[in-house]
Symmetry: C2
């Protein structure tokens, strides 16, 4: 069955994961809850040993890594709670007597999922991160392609998952790993892989998408490819809180050396005298800022190339730069006009790191034109007073079609892990705007609905039995 | 913005639909309810004038068309009811005080949707069929590409929608039509089209999918491309009810001259002496059956080619044929062995019309091998006694991964329009197994989640306001 050009390690990993699927999908929600909780417990226990290794591999500061590890285990337990509560399967029961009808529906797992670890969240979006955990929660075995930026961390976390599987009696191949770029592409092309999750660059995500849709049997790819997370500052807010907004926005832009998918990379300013002071304040903060060591030298090189391109752009001015230090990314603040921005789509490209582009507009129409010209985004933010927001109400209507998450008077960094979160958005922010990669709804990336018609009770999945042995909330029709 | 190789009618249709989108998405659920109900009322009123025209265009018998028209208006009213009830938007509200969090989520419409009418359901899957109505219910304008098999019907139903839009104050371009193959491909390639719905052949659906994923901005394609809807007969059921099962299955196969996506095209039989009598009964019914005039001469030609291919296959026997009449499709019953079936994937191909292939198995293992080798299906059916179903329990586990709908002791034709229905399934039955094209969940093909963070009350969509002005069921967290 597997294509012949797929290497043995990938074939072995996928074949064993596929065998594990039929066993794993039969485990009860309670058994999966124990498995997920055991993963969280193993990671918490191993944390003190893992964090120093990750610190070396990622250059991320210790407090950040400690926080991220806690966030990761919290996220795992959140999915355990989701399975415990049980209504996520969206059970619908339609039983009628005349004409006799017995139709029931619920979500079932897809099959083997390939997960690609991200560089910028070695815990939360990597081996036992949101993609892996939501797939495991859905009932799908995971073959994980570790990010080369943190191989030792990946191995240590993988060992936690394996210990948890062993302790809770799960098939060992419910989680396996492969390594290397080639293995990653083979994974996407493997006929027994049924979905792909990825967080990273546009180039990487698009390559996986292109491979997946060309397969004999195409499969879904959930690639979160980042965005520039535009921020619109409206006139009264700027007048009243210019300094405050500048401080918060720049801090968000510099956070973690700018290495967040939700980093605010574009700031659209209104045509006001006050914009100058807002801009000057921002420039001052950037000017006195220090950069940091980036996740990898490759990311640092890409950042340098990105800021150089903007710096050499004839329509763009370098307004401020932070400290220039060996091996560290230098923060950059660029400024351009609405016309320049609208005339060159490249100015919408993400420069992953502590860089932002401020766009000066001449009037409301220009601001709307910019909003309309935006590509798909993970987030879009508006700073405005009540007066502003009423005057610019159509801006929300426009941005609703552009982003997965809209914010008022806040910063886009800091993504809450909740059932209400959407960390996703129209292409090219992601390859599937119907989904989220953060929050419990992430589970639906790995399930599909199945309808059971005229089934005797003993054959129905527990979630659909009349007696409701799982005690879950269900939708009943036809009574 | 639109690509230059797109013809004026398509450009005009999409551009006006796109303009209508910003207006239409702002209409309240109550306004959309009135619009949908008006469409149903207009169609009901025009029914007596439309049905004779459709009868001529489709060759479908009058009672069937009368029934289909009622089904279509019922379906429209079902979506009106869905909007009235309102919980379909999946509103989630997460408000916490410490740390201050206000995150809310709901489904929002995609944008302009291209809908391709089907030939075999000139009402229920065509101009005002499930695809159009679920897109309109979601808040998406529709550009409809009429099926060339029933152009006058299409024009008459389109006029009903236009009258309904006028009477209820909707933007006229909320529904527009284009014609012709070229226009269809241009529609899929138009940058302002955001999703595609199609019901028809694998070739047609796959061509749309391939075009959509190659766009600069890929868009989802929901193509329902039919399937062979395998039926497994288990030993005791066959012994006890062979005659009954044969009658029901053959009737389902011949229904509407076999022109249903859920037509049972493959029947897998156990290794029993009784299988012979089951087969003979089926052959006898087919042998004394009459065919019918098919929807189009093209479909009839394709059917003749299909049965000829099976007839000439060295591993396949023609067991029975129905009446041979000029201009009518002749029913066919073919028989093959498990080995032949497993060795030639072509034997899984759909022959659209009153043809079926019975597969004789040697043992349980062969039956499981056939189930495992099946491509994606809309439906899979098992006939079995309680004893059978317990003995063959793993068959359900296998078929769950193969089909969108599983049936026990029933026939797959006759798709109930209910919230519990899944009319979909793994590729190649559809291009997106996560969705259904029948039932109210069809609406989610045209929506995406958006998250509203830290919004003042007056800016929130009604569905997410604290006071819940729409009075809908919502999920509240964090309290």
């Amino acid at each position: 069955m597997p294509a012949t050009n797929i290497s043995l390690p990938v074939n072995d990993a996928v074949a064993s994961a596929h065998s594990a699927f039929s066993e794993y999908k039969k485990t009860s929600p309670a058994q999966k809850v124990l498995f997920l909780q055991a993963i969280a417990a193993e990671i918490t226990a191993a944390g003190p040993a893992i964090i120093p290794v990750t610190q070396k591999e990622s250059n991320l500061p210790l407090p950040r890594l400690e926080g991220e590890l806690i966030r990761t285990t919290k996220q795992i337990n959140l999915f355990a709670d989701l399975l415990k509560e049980g209504s996520w399967v969206r059970a619908v029961i339609d039983v009628k007597e005349n004409p006799a009808t017995d139709i029931r529906q619920m979500q079932v797992p897809f099959g083997v999922v390939a997960v690609f670890g991200a560089s910028n969240f070695p815990f939360a979006f990597s081996v036992a991160g949101g993609d892996t955990i939501s797939a495991l929660a859905a009932g799908c075995p995971v073959v994980h392609k570790a990010h080369p930026a943190h191989p030792e961390t990946a191995a240590m976390i993988a060992a936690c998952i394996h210990r948890a599987a062993e302790k809770t009696g799960m098939p060992p191949a419910v989680f396996t790993t492969v390594e290397g770029f080639e293995a990653g592409m083979q994974l996407v092309n493997h006929p027994l892989v049924s979905a792909v999750a990825f967080t990273g660059s546009f180039r990487g995500g698009k390559a996986l998408y292109d491979a997946a849709v060309k397969r004999e049997k195409p499969i879904p790819v959930y690639a979160e490819m980042g965005s520039v997370n535009p921020v619109f500052i409206l006139p009264h807010a700027l007048q009243q809180n210019g300094y405050d907004i500048a401080s918060k926005l720049v801090a968000s832009n510099l956070l973690g050396t700018g290495q967040f998918c939700t980093n605010p990379g574009i700031v659209v300013m209104p045509p006001l005298h006050d914009a100058k002071s807002f801009l000057d304040t921002s420039a001052q903060i950037i000017g006195s800022s220090k950069g940091g060591v980036m996740l990898t030298s490759g990311i640092h090189e890409a950042y340098k190339t990105g800021v150089q391109k903007f710096g050499e752009h004839k329509g763009v001015t370098v307004k401020a730069t932070g400290a220039i230090e060996e091996e560290k990314a230098t923060p950059h603040l660029f400024v351009t006009t609405a016309d320049e921005f609208l005339n060159d789509e490249h100015l919408q490209e993400e420069v992953f790191g502590p860089s932002s582009l401020f766009v000066e507009t001449d009037d409301k129409a220009a601001l709307y034109n910019i909003a309309s010209a935006l590509h798909g985004q993970l987030t879009a933010t508006i700073w405005g007073t009540e007066e502003d927001l009423k005057e610019y109400a159509d801006l929300i209507t426009i941005l609703e079609d552009k982003a997965g998450r809209l914010l008022i008077n806040g910063v886009p960094t800091g993504v809450e892990v909740t059932a209400a979160m959407v960390h996703g958005g129209p292409y090219p922010a992601t390859t599937d705007s119907r989904t989220t990669s953060v929050g419990t709804d992430a589970i639906y990336r790995f399930t599909r609905p199945v309808c059971y018609q005229n089934f005797p009770q003993f054959l129905l999945p527990d979630a659909l039995k009349d007696e409701n042995p799982l005690g879950i909330v269900r939708k009943s029709l036809g009574h």
